[in-house]
Every structure is written in C-alpha cells, then in structure tokens.
C-alpha cells in the first residue's frame, strides 16, 4: 500500500492542499495530477497506489475544491490563463522540475493549454478536448443554475455523473465517484463548467512539443472521438503522440481503472524516453 500523505502549501496566497504517494523519483518525471470539475485530488489515489514503487505522484485540490481554500470572493478559477498560472505556481512551489501533467475532464482539456504554454516534460489528457464552446447555447443556462439557491448542485448532477461511468467500473470506484457528486459545491462547479464549456486552444496546438498521451474511456458519451481527432490534427510538433481507447470505462477513467491508466502511462513514458 502506498504511503499517501497530505499537507498544505501556499500557492499564490491560497492555502492549497495536496497529496503525494511519496513514491521514488523516476528519471521520466514527476506525475502532477489534476482532478475533474467540482472534485478533488483523491481521484488519483488509485494511480498513487499503482505507482507506489515507481513514480512520485502528486495531486492537489484546485482553489475552492476539496480542502483547498477558495480564491478571494469565495470563488474558484474561471479562466484557462488563471488555471495555468496557478498550476504552474504549484509546480514551482513544490520545486518540481520535471512535471508530467495528467488531467481528466476539465483538467484533460487544461493539460493542452499547459503543454502549449509551460515547459512540461510530458502531458496525459484523459477525456479531454482542446475545444468546447457551449456556454453560448442553452447549455449555458444549465451551468448558470448550478449555484441558484433553489437548485441542489448534487441532486441536479446525480444522473449526469451516473451516466458518465463506464460499465466495467468496479462498485468501489462507482461509489467513490457518486460520493464525489455528494460533496460538490455549486459555485465551484459553476466556475469549472464555465471554463470547460468556453474553451478553445486549438490555435496553439502546434506549440505542444512534449510527448503526449491521450486516453479515452469509450463509455463516456460526453467526450466523443471527434474531440480527440481535433486535438491530433493540430498537434503536429509532438515528438511522440498516442491515442489509446479503453473499452468499457468512462469519464472518470483514472478512478474507474487506475491500473489500466497506470500501465498506459508507464509504457508510454518508457517508449518516449527510450
């Protein structure tokens, strides 16, 4: 069992909670894991366990998530620029010089931005897209209702989260994901989904020059193939680019199948550094 420990660090004036598996330093890099919308770093406990003897894995709670303090004004991050600055500030605060950024869902989107704008060692995008522009549709109204005092964020997203889980996800993973719904904060989720649905970094995909692994749990109806195809079309300068599909698993693939995700990452990094 991994020796997972958690503590706080000051990042841009925000008391930020993070956890690590205290795994060994690996020459391929340090895995910095970024959670899905509204959730927190515990989503990566499975990956921390898998890499207990192989990689240092770090996961932090973004501002207003989990145990991290919110931004001034009791809010979360709303733009990709803020997200990038905060994530990079966290990486620097921990003194990580060889970050491999790993993200899922909104963070799966954001790792494209991070790889475009910061010197990351490699990127792993799960259930991500370089472009989702839906806030100007009626979907934006749905997002706006997330912190309406007459709407339960948890109840209103119960079926949505349930629908995203893959059919092979074990019960413990399923329960952890649904418990994550129970713990969501409306205004935090609103910030995340506003960012997620007003996002376009396709114009700079050619700036990504690090090894890049894209993973898709194919039971996730919310992140279809064409999101990946758009990314791959623009990522013309990657020294190594792979897209791996995993049958039977869904949107929260790092929670649903950490062993499969871990193996994919490990194989990818071994080949990229051969």
């Amino acid at each position: 069992m991994a020796n997972i420990t958690g503590t706080y660090i000051d990042v841009k004036g925000i008391k930020t909670y993070y956890e690590t598996n205290n795994g060994p330093k690996n020459p391929h890099g340090t895995l910095v894991c970024l959670h899905t919308a509204g959730r927190e770093g515990r989503q990566y406990h499975g990956l921390m366990e898998y890499f207990a003897d192989k990689y240092t894995v770090v996961a932090f709670d973004m501002p207003a998530h989990g145990k991290s303090w919110p931004l001034p004004g009791l809010t979360g991050i709303k733009t990709k620029e803020e997200y990038g600055e905060f994530t990079w500030a966290f990486i620097q605060a921990l003194g990580i010089e060889d970050p491999i950024v790993v993200g899922c869902s909104v963070a799966g989107n954001m790792v494209y931005y991070l790889a475009e704008n910061y010197p990351v060692r490699a990127m792993v995008s799960m259930q991500g897209s370089p472009q989702i522009l839906a806030m100007q549709t009626s979907y934006g109204t749905t997002v706006d209702l997330l912190d309406n005092p007459y709407v339960s964020c948890q109840h209103s997203h119960w079926d949505f989260s349930e629908s995203l889980i893959g059919r092979y996800a074990p019960k413990e993973a399923h329960d952890h994901i649904m418990w994550g719904v129970c713990q969501e904060i409306g205004r935090t989720k609103k910030c995340d989904l506003s960012l997620y649905n007003n996002y376009d970094v396709t114009g700079d995909l050619d700036k990504i020059t690090c090894p890049s692994l894209l993973i898709r749990g194919t039971d996730d109806w919310n992140v279809p193939d064409h999101y990946y195809e758009t990314a791959i079309k623009g990522m013309v300068n990657c020294p190594k680019l792979e897209w791996k599909k995993v049958e039977g698993y869904g949107h929260f693939i790092a929670v649903e199948a950490p062993e499969i995700v871990g193996e994919l990452i490990d194989n990818f990094l071994n080949e990229a550094n051969a």
């Binding site: 839906a134 009626s138 109204t141 629908s163 919310n222 279809p224």
Partner: protein, 130 residues
Amino acid sequence: MTNEEKLQKFKALQELINGPEADEFLNYWDGRFFTGDMTFIMDNVPFNMFFYKGKMIDVFIGQPSNGYNVGISGDAEQWNAFFEHRNFQLATSVKHCDRPFTNLGSALANRQNNAVIAQVARLTAKAFCD
C-alpha cells in the same frame, strides 16, 4: 402504436414505479421528493403523470390543468432513439444531440428534478419496450 395503446404502456409504467422499481426510484433517484405533474409529449400528444411524494397517482392524455411543470417533448424518431440508448443526458444534450428533447416547464424546475425525470424516462423505455 395508437395513443390508447401508449396510455396502457404508461399505466404499466405506473405499476412499475409504484411496485418493483419503487425503492430505487424513491431512494436512489430521490423520487420521494417529487410531488406534481410530469409530462412526456410523444408526437404532439401529452401523457401527463401526477406524482405524490414519488408515488405515481394518475396518468392521462392531456395537458396538466396548471400548465407544464416538468417533462420532455419529442417526436417518434426522438423517442425511438431514446428507447434504444436510454441515456437521458444524451437525449437532452444540446452539445451532443442534433435533435434533443425539448424541456417542458421552467429551466429551474427541470434542473431541480433532473435525476427524477431521467429515471422516469428510463422506466418509460422499460415499460414500452421490455
């Protein structure tokens, strides 16, 4: 299928929701908090269900007397597609669906009751098709 035959399917749905599916509907999908009208329009024909604390009391063809509370509307093609995949979120997603169901009632009421409506829709598929 005639409208009368569809109404009989909704009556079968009533048996399902109040019978073998009751516990999951009330407790996992929080149906116990739902009191009021829920309307599913199929090809312009409204099938209106009335619930009291998650128990389905009645179903009839016609609009609810106080106007639409919550529900969805679609044509035969949309309902058949839903009956096939049974993914309510996909069927109502303007991001993913060329022809999503139309929500009935206010955006607020639909958001509040999203999980309950989703489960009633899935059980409707079961009553119609299984």
